[in-house]
């Protein structure tokens, strides 16, 4: 079974709770609300943090993506809206709008690099950082969660395309760039 250690797999992770939160990321009330929902502090520029039951990704200077259990997305939005009541913010359950993939294997980094203009060198995109970019013809975001362990998010409407692209890139094998 030498094959298993030399391939990269692409797996649709199925239902994943996702909440987009926009607002002032330096605001104390917002920071507290994010901690209540995810157990995590707000990451800095391009940061990605995972905790026991969720994760937080920095998407832009005024936008976070919160990953929560699938059945908790609705209550997360309600909690955020209650905590931020009366102040400028936006919390939306975007779980159904996105698809999430696991890309795992020894050259997973190269599988993504072949499909994207992003600099995927480990020094440029280390663990704990999210990269929003382009995969082939569609918008995507991805991050590393350990050696050879990557997560990819795309719009659900183009999930089939993204999966086929990643599987083809994986099948073509390693390049040896990193």
């Amino acid at each position: 079974m030498a094959e298993a250690t030399t391939t990269v797999t692409v797996r649709d992770l199925g239902a994943q709770g996702m909440v987009t939160l926009r607002g002032d990321l330096a605001d104390e009330t917002l920071i507290k609300a994010v901690r209540k929902v995810t157990g995590l502090t707000v990451p800095g520029q391009r940061g990605f943090r995972r905790g026991k039951s969720g994760a937080v990704a920095w998407m832009s200077p005024d936008e976070l993506l919160l990953l929560v259990p699938e059945d908790k997305a609705g209550s997360a939005v309600a909690d955020l809206d209650r905590a931020l009541d009366g102040q400028h913010h936006l919390a939306v359950d975007v779980s159904d709008a996105r698809a999430m993939f696991a890309v795992e294997g020894p050259f997973a980094r190269e599988v993504l690099a072949k499909c994207s203009p992003a600099d995927l060198h480990p020094d440029s995109l280390p663990e704990g950082e999210i990269r929003r970019t382009r995969l082939g013809q569609v918008a995507a975001a991805f991050w590393c969660e350990g050696d050879g362990i990557w997560r990819v998010i795309v719009f659900r409407s183009v999930a089939g395309y993204a999966q086929a692209l990643l599987e083809r890139s994986a099948r073509d094998g390693a390049v040896g760039a990193f």
Partner: protein
Amino acid sequence: MLILTCPNCGIAAEETELSPGGEAHLHRHGPGSSDGEFEEYLFLKENPRGVHFERWRHSHGCGKWFHAARDTATLQVFGTYSAQTTEPPQHIRDAITAARPGWRWRDFS
């Protein structure tokens, strides 16, 4: 290939991750303006061979707008800066002056 560093997220974005937004620092003329001013705003754009100021959006990225100063002929980038300004900041002008002494673009130099 053109690479612009988005000042909003810090990513050195390649051209295909960006959407061009046309000429920067337009003076918008609306109701009450003369025909000449409105024509100027709507149609009369700079198209230089050399120093140019543009708006770009980091569309395959953080989604935010920013400004860029570059040379249209050599693709040398003098710098990128916030979208929330009506004129290029001094450090950008200095960077251009260092590379293109005596440059002029509309009212800026």
